[in-house]
């Protein structure tokens, strides 16, 4: 595993065994806000709507109970694509197979915090990872990546796939989110009840293609 950082200063993991590179953490609010500080059409009123569903936690004050508030959840797939385009042309939501590979790797690989400590990340990213490491005492990468199903604050990840006829792109959520999404290795993606459905448990991370 190798770690680098994206333009927001947050870690991108490159896993040679599975041949994939992706945001190590679900995309955080402080990352997304770097995108929002450019005049691209996402206004105060839009962000207020998101924060109503997913209240914001400051990366300087992370408590166990408020930890999920760090992450940019409550967001819709087409809104994710705005951020993806800004982050870089080669970033996109994972497909089902890719996500399952990531999930499998994270749940079966022993955590090694030394890896991210030299990855040249932003202050916010370092601070966040240090706090989370202390709070979670991770055994595998799945815990610090907020994937682990036994934790109540596990975050589901938006995934995309194409219809068999390759006409439409579909979006759903994979992850080990209790009472919602289930085991990504066994279950198909969860389909939200409506295209405008925002859920505090649904976040995203992007693949670097």
């Amino acid at each position: 595993m190798q770690l680098s950082s994206d333009r927001t200063g947050f870690p991108v993991a490159q896993i040679e065994q599975i041949g994939l590179a992706f945001n190590l953490l679900p995309v955080t609010k402080v990352q997304f806000e770097q995108f929002l500080s450019e005049p691209r059409g996402n206004s105060d009123l839009w962000y207020e709507k998101v924060l109503e569903v997913s209240p914001r936690t400051s990366w300087r004050r992370i408590t166990e109970s408020e930890r999920p508030g760090l992450f940019m959840t409550g967001i819709l797939p087409h809104e994710v694509s705005w951020f993806g385009q800004w982050l870089g042309e080669d970033f996109a939501l994972p497909d089902i197979t890719q996500w399952r590979q990531i999930d499998h790797w994270a749940c079966h690989t022993r955590y090694n915090g030394n890896l991210w400590k030299n990855a040249g990340m932003s202050l916010a990213a370092r601070y966040m990872l240090e706090e989370m490491e202390q709070q979670l005492q991770p055994q595998t990468w799945s815990e610090i990546m907020m994937l682990h199903g036994e934790r109540r604050d596990a975050i589901g990840n938006w995934v995309q796939w194409q219809d068999e006829d390759h006409r439409d792109v579909n979006y759903g959520v994979l992850g080990r989110v209790p009472r919602s999404v289930g085991n990504p290795q066994k279950h198909p993606p969860f389909l939200p009840p409506s295209p405008q459905y925002r859920d505090v448990r649904y976040g995203f991370r992007l693949m670097q293609l």
């Binding site: 806000e33 005049p39 105060d44 207020e48 914001r56 400051s58 300087r60």
Partner: protein, 422 residues
């Protein structure tokens, strides 16, 4: 010396070199008349390879002969330097304006409020202007006219403080740096990321809507007048000077020389007055004049004065009456009548040092800066507003000293100009 072989044979090059040396030394406040003459001679007598003037100056000023000339000149003559206290050094402010959608219904109020504040602060403070969510600084002086266009430009940004604070941090903001005023309406979403930082502690939030900081920081609802007083508490006194520094000219007559310092006290009748001033100092080598500013709330702060271009001031001569002219000539003809300063009706309301000129007509000039260089460069008479006397100072052994003497009546300044004290 061997490496400085003769290369300045071209008179034009010598002249150019000399001018450049003078400019550099003037900027450093090191040029005196004697030194100027010495340097001109040296520039012509030394051979200097004229390729890099700055290197040449560095070399020349290290030469023992030049160093000796510096020291000799410094013993006898104070360095002349122009320094400015603009008042703007006193306070620098960062203004952060909310032009986001959540503040739309309050934009007119924000614009009016911030415009009024900038108008008041502009002469007194160095202002930096930002919009929430935008790292780019704007010109505060143009806010009143361009504010609405800038509102459009920033309206689609989200109310985030991090882009602005990050810019300030990257530009070297420290706890001693300017205070920050934020004007807005609607939540600033990322304020908590700066909790317990010096930057947030230096910030004041002015809520022009229903909420702004969501309880994270105190929000102030205030009038422009109240805010102005809070941000720029009125000055109670400004004192300029340093041991070993004598003012020879100052551009603001609201200052007066008292007890060895230049002092500014705002008028009690509250007529508008500014402490901004440019001063021509005659300084001992180590003297660094500074400004001590006392505010009406008792705070005392010290500020550096900064180098400024000289002010070209001319003596303004006005005529005496025919009777006064006759009287002046009689006094000048009779040395025994020089014991008293004259008592002319024209000069009745004048205080300080007045010059009298007897040429084709008799004239007077009331020095708005009652400071007068006497003879050579080493003596200065300064009118002290507290003692009502023009005390004489002399520069000896690298420093100014009180002589205990005062300017005598009809002190001859030049062939036909005399100084008197009223």
């Amino acid at each position: 010396m061997a490496n400085l072989t003769i290369a300045l044979s071209d008179p034009a090059a010598i002249a150019k070199f000399s001018v450049h040396v003078e400019e550099v030394l003037v900027q450093r406040g090191q040029l005196t008349g004697q030194l100027r003459r010495t340097l001109n001679l040296e520039a012509q007598n030394l051979g200097i390879h004229y390729t890099d003037v700055d290197q040449v100056i560095a070399q020349v000023t290290k030469l023992p002969r030049i160093q000796a000339a510096f020291e000799e000149a410094a013993k006898k003559t104070a360095c002349e330097i122009w320094l400015e206290f603009s008042g703007a050094q006193m306070s620098s402010l960062v203004l952060i304006v909310d032009a986001s959608q959540s503040a739309d219904t309050h934009w007119k109020t924000i614009h009016r409020y911030v415009s009024a504040l900038i108008r008041r602060l502009q002469p007194l403070c160095r202002l930096q202007l930002f919009f929430l969510g935008n790292a780019t600084p704007y010109n505060a002086a143009q806010f009143e006219s361009h504010g609405n266009a800038w509102h459009e430009e920033n309206n689609r940004r989200v109310s985030l403080i991090t882009p602005v604070f990050t810019t300030l941090v990257n530009s070297g903001w420290s706890e001693k740096s300017p205070r920050i005023l934020v004007f807005g309406a609607g939540s600033i979403f990322d304020l908590a990321d700066w909790q317990d930082t010096a930057m947030l502690q230096a910030s004041r939030f002015f809520c022009l809507g229903d909420y702004l900081t969501d309880g994270l920081c105190p929000e102030e609802e205030t009038t422009v007048e109240h805010l102005f007083t809070r941000v720029c508490p009125p000055i109670s006194q400004v004192v300029l000077g340093a041991d070993g520094a004598i003012p020879f000219y100052w551009s603001n007559p609201a200052y007066s020389w008292e007890q060895g310092r230049l002092r500014f006290t705002p008028p009690e009748d509250k007529t508008p007055s500014t402490p901004a001033v440019r001063v021509r100092w005659l300084c001992a080598p180590e003297a660094v004049p500074q400004a001590a500013v006392t505010l009406q709330n008792g705070d005392l702060s010290y500020y550096e004065m900064v180098a400024c271009p000289p002010v070209r001031a001319k003596w303004r001569w006005q005529s005496l009456t025919r009777e006064e002219a006759d009287h002046l000539r009689r006094q000048l003809d009779c040395p025994s009548s020089h014991e008293n300063h004259p008592n002319y009706a024209t000069l009745r309301d004048k205080r300080g040092i007045v010059l009298l000129r007897d040429s084709e007509k008799a004239e007077y000039c009331h020095l708005t800066c009652p400071s007068l260089r006497l003879g050579e460069e080493s003596s200065v008479a300064l009118w002290d507003n507290s003692t009502r006397q023009a005390e004489i100072f002399r520069f000896e052994n690298h420093n100014w000293h009180r002589t205990g003497e005062v300017l005598s009546p009809f002190h001859q300044i030049s062939e036909n100009i005399y100084a008197v004290v009223l």
